[in-house]
Symmetry: C2
Amino acid sequence: MQGASFVTDEKKDRVTVEINNRTYTIVGDEESSSHVRLVASLVDQKMKEIQGTNRHLDTANLAVLTALNTMNDYLKLKEDYATLLGSMKRKEDK
Amino acid sequence: MQGASFVTDEKKDRVTVEINNRTYTIVGDEESSSHVRLVASLVDQKMKEIQGTNRHLDTANLAVLTALNTMNDYLKLKEDYATLLGSMKRKEDK
């Protein structure tokens, strides 16, 4: 979804998803529509979780906080990946 | 940052960061302030990249698209992690 964008007039594959009660039309240039729907449902779920404990947030702030939380998860997983790779290499060196 | 939130009156550690020219006060209950700043700078960078190719987006839509892109990156990394774990287990079984 690196090249994904909100569009109204392009001819590429479009997927309409609902995130936090708003409808978005997403164009993916690499993923299938089922993958776009999966990603959107995970973002929707995370936004709803965050909204549950931050009722006063508007959509923009809620979405920024969702992006921050997802980026945090990404960095943790990246560390886990590096740790796993490291332990794999140590085993190979033995 | 699972429990991170935008607050104005809590007594926990607060970090002020700038994302897409807006200031946010973030409360992390597990991470250090330098980690919060790193996560925020990565989100800021991604938002600016996406804005570069989607000039008409408002902050809310831009932030949702940033969350979608980050979630997509997360899922890809999760697949890579599973693949690495699988190949590690296959080697152990030999």
